[in-house]
């Protein structure tokens, strides 16, 4: 009798598939079929929107529309400071201006009652040459200048700034500066010896008239000193005075026999002019005004020009308070919900024992974690995007109606670069925070522990940064994932303008996308640690 070979039992079912798309689908199914999670995610978006709009509604009462005596509106439509001492001639068509700067002295005006160790030099005082569309404040310009703290710079149309030769200027180490104009293009050069020239940059000034104004200028912004203590601002403003000496002045393309005329452009927002009360904090303010500034001066003798100015600047007008960035902190309420969801997306599996099923079906644990991260991150991103895209325009309109004038506190359209940064940034910040919370959940395997860890690294630094002195507070906002909240700043900051950058007022020490990178580094480290522990530990 022959015995047939018995083949071992084989299930008729196809083997389970754990390739990545199927993993994603499995995790997405887990997420969308838990009603509480879906409700919490929608609630996070709705709460974020409501909190932002509500804060905008109650945040309007503090400043009246007349609080910002803005001197001028720049070519880009933004508020600018355009006040300086200008020694000029007309420049028709093509031409160039060349000078040698032999000194730039900057010090604070006497009589402000400062103790010796407060004596500041304004690093952004400036003196140099400029070609400007006209004498109207806010008109287009391009300038090359020396500064006490930042070497030679080429700046144009208020927001653009490029570096030239480094180091301060002195009689032993003078700086040669040159601007050439061809049509509406202005090119800036600098040189240490007057023979070897280097190009710093080129500016296209839209609408530069055929006859422009060219000449020498000096400007000396106020020196700001900030002290932050337990959420109280104690900010001081000191008037400074810059005096610069020029020689070897050569203008080509000017009118024959033209003489140099000196005069002040714009009106000051500093000493002797309208007091810029936006620079006074809401509490503990110190809008110091002691002594009076001497009138700007100009002298010309034997080819030597001396200019001095006090209180002027050619720069974007920057406010200390960032109302939009501050009301966007309402998204912290949504953030807590998102942290809770991210953490529970994995801790709930540990609690119910589902994690064992998950890992049996898909033994490659790193990929399970990756699939979870993609699902929770994408769901959060979409919810955050919808919430922010609806809330931000409403909040801007409310702030605007509440007295935050739109020339100073711009209303960003959602399609503009900065508007996109705010809305996409908020969504991205929430999404990566959810991934970080997921990693905390995988590491700690406890909902309460993981949520608290998420809150301690993401939210507590924001609170401590307000409470601590500014030095360590700024370091917290550089090193912890809370740095990413810089993405929500509604007021752009320019490094060429000295301004108070305080967490209290919604300012962050790192630039927005660097701050976001810090959060991403934390999330990447979290994913690595979680993957390692998931592989090493029993489920």
């Amino acid at each position: 009798m022959s015995t047939g070979t018995m083949s071992p039992y084989q299930s008729g079912q196809r083997p389970g598939r754990d390739d990545f798309p199927h993993l994603l689908r499995a995790e997405w199914t887990k997420f969308r079929t838990v009603r509480g999670w879906v409700i919490a995610m929608v609630a996070a978006a709705v709460l974020t929107g409501l909190a932002v709009v509500a804060l905008a509604g109650i945040g309007g009462g503090q400043q009246n529309p007349g609080a910002h005596p803005v001197a001028a509106i720049g070519p880009g439509g933004q508020a600018v400071t355009d006040h300086f001492y200008f020694v000029r001639q007309s420049l028709a068509g093509h031409g160039s201006i060349t000078v040698r700067v032999t000194s730039l002295a900057d010090n604070e005006l006497p009589g402000q009652g400062l103790p010796a160790h407060y004596l500041p030099a304004q690093p952004w005082a400036k003196a140099g040459i400029i070609i400007k569309a006209g004498t109207k404040p806010g008109s287009a310009y391009a300038a090359v200048m020396v500064t006490p703290g930042h070497g030679v710079r080429m700046q144009y149309d208020f927001t653009h700034d490029a570096a030239g030769l480094a180091g301060p200027v002195s009689a032993a180490s003078p700086r040669w500066l040159r601007l050439t104009r061809s049509g509406d293009t202005v090119t800036g050069y600098d040189s240490a010896d007057g023979t070897h020239w280097a190009e710093i940059g080129t500016a296209r000034l839209a609408g530069l008239p055929a006859t422009a104004q060219a000449g020498l200028f000096a400007a000396s912004p106020q020196y700001l000193q900030a002290v932050q203590q337990f959420a109280n601002n104690n900010n001081a403003f000191y008037d400074t005075q810059a005096t610069a000496a020029f020689d070897h002045v050569r203008l080509t393309g000017g009118q024959p026999g033209g003489a140099w005329r000196g005069g002040v452009i714009g009106f000051p927002t500093g000493p002797g002019g309208q007091r810029d009360i936006s620079r006074c904090g809401p509490s503990g303010q110190d809008c110091r005004k002691i002594g009076s500034a001497p009138a700007a001066r100009f002298s010309q003798a034997a080819g030597r020009f001396t200019l001095s100015d006090s209180g002027g600047d050619i720069a974007p007008y920057i406010t200390d308070v960032d109302p939009l960035g501050l009301v966007l902190k309402g998204s912290l309420i949504g953030l807590i919900a998102v942290i809770a969801l991210g953490a529970m997306f994995i801790t709930a599996e540990y609690r119910r024992g589902l994690i064992r099923t998950t890992f049996s079906a898909s033994p490659r644990r790193g990929r399970v974690l990756a699939a979870k991260a993609v699902v929770i991150g994408s769901a959060t991103f979409v919810a955050g995007l919808v919430g922010a895209a609806i809330a931000v325009p409403i909040a801007e309109r409310k702030l605007h109606a509440g007295g935050w004038v739109s020339s100073v506190f711009p209303v960003w359209s959602l399609t503009s670069g900065h508007g996109l940064q705010i809305v996409l940034g908020t969504a991205a910040l929430l999404a990566v925070a959810a991934v970080l919370a997921l990693c905390a959940g995988a590491v700690l395997r406890s909902s309460a522990g993981a949520i608290t860890a998420g809150v301690v690294v993401l939210i507590v630094p924001l609170l401590l940064a307000v409470v601590l002195p500014q030095g360590p507070g700024d370091w917290l906002l550089r090193l912890t994932p809370a740095a990413a909240f810089g993405l929500q700043q509604g007021t752009p900051h320019y490094s060429q303008v000295m301004s108070f950058c305080q967490p209290y007022n919604g300012c962050f020490p790192l630039s927005p996308w660097y701050g976001f990178a810090v959060l991403c580094v934390w999330a990447a480290a979290g994913l690595a640690l979680a993957t390692y522990l998931l592989r090493r530990r029993d489920a």
Partner: protein
Amino acid sequence: MTRALSAGGAPLRGAALLRGAAPLRGATPLREAVHAEWTKLRTVPSTGWLLLTAIVLTAGVGALTTTAEKCPASCGADPTKLSLTGILPGQAAIAVLAVLVMTSEYSSGMIRITLTAVPRRATAMAAKAIILSGVVLTAGTVAVLASVLAGRLILPGNGFSAAHGFAALSLGNGPTLRAAAGSVLYLGLIALFSLGLGTALRDSGASIAVILSLLYIVPLLSDLGVLAPAWKHRLQEYGPATAGLAIQATRNLPKLPIGPWPGLGVLAAWTAAALLAGGLLLRLRDV
């Protein structure tokens, strides 16, 4: 004879049957319930870790803050409050501990055993509250004493010296003692508040999210430069953490939105409300 046996005026039948078999107590005395809770709490490893975290965060952040704060000339800083800054992060660990005392029993199913052993739910909850308060007040005392000691040692070197009008921190000073003892009480109240909320919500994730919102987001929003002063004042006066931490102030008391003891009173009211809500829900709901 205990109350349960004579309920309704006549001895219960079951009780009568049992009487001969074993001494029956109708309700577990609070003392034994407390003992049971103590056993549960001290045999879980997370308790020790969380308390240690609370102490290290409180004293560590307090010491770092006092190291960072300088007083070159006269300054308006409040050295006591400065030394006790660490309570801000430290309270998170206390909140987690307190929430877990109740919610971990719901997630593991242990609550059914607990309430079978101690059927009077008020007693069960009181036992948890007593043990939790004792543990948190002890750890809080250690954390606060360490913070004050760090401040006493570090601050004079940073310019908070007699020359600038600052005496070294000392518990012999009335306001400093009030701030230190008040901070310990603050941690105790936060723990009981968290216990009440955890009992009401039964889920550790949801409870901790709500508590941390109240502890961190309300103070953050009330500190922002954008808020109208009236709203700022309102949030600081009625928020559990902002009002409660007024107990730490020792300078410029008239300028505070709310006084030290009334502030702690506001937190106590939040705590009472949470405990009451948790207790009522525990009594009314099935396990």
